[in-house]
């Protein structure tokens, strides 16, 4: 009985490690991991306001 319990624990830990590693390497997995461990998703804007101003100066205006 004790042997079975130890083996079961071993299998559960191995699957836990593999599932966490796999999730950390896939996009969907990362989202799920963040949800599971309640990590707030970072929201980065692609273009900052200062960048947008710079582009406005560089790019030619419509005439």
């Amino acid at each position: 009985m004790k042997k079975i319990a130890i083996e079961a624990l071993f299998i559960m830990i191995i699957s836990l490690i593999i599932s966490l590693i796999y999730s950390a390497t896939s996009t969907t997995g990362i989202i799920l991991l963040k949800k599971a461990f309640k990590i707030k998703a970072e929201t980065k804007s692609v273009i900052k306001v200062s960048d947008a101003d710079r582009f406005r100066k560089i790019l030619p205006r419509h005439t």
């Binding site: 079961a8 699957s15 997995g29 991991l33 599971a36």
Partner: protein, 151 residues
Amino acid sequence: MSAAISFIFRIIIGGIFLVSGLAKISDPIRLIFTLRDFKLFPEIIVPFTAIYLPWLEFILGLLIIVGLLYRTSSLMLAFLNFAFMLAILSVIIRGIEVDCGCFGLLADMLKIPDMADMKAVIRNMLFIGMCFYISRAKKTMFPLENYFKKV
């Protein structure tokens, strides 16, 4: 004779859980929706279960097929199937119609009926019987365990 039966059961059970585990690993979002439909688990546990459960199924299936720690694996799979059966029964009793999510993407691809109904309960009972047979059988064919014992 019992060794051959045990081997056939190992291939069937191991194959089913290996494939269904893979199907769920490839689409965890679907599993999340299924788990939510069951209305059994708190929201905190759902994403973690969707990550962990398919891998547990996959590894147990793999261990049973190759014959490594197959007695413990089949017992664990029997308990897992018992839990699935209770979940499906609870859904039937509450009168909620949901997909059982047993085969994930595979159900759509092969057009297998995947509803949480009495057929699913009977199927799970059959799986539990097979798992107990594998764990209780004195001998089985081609287990990898024997190879490791010799080494």
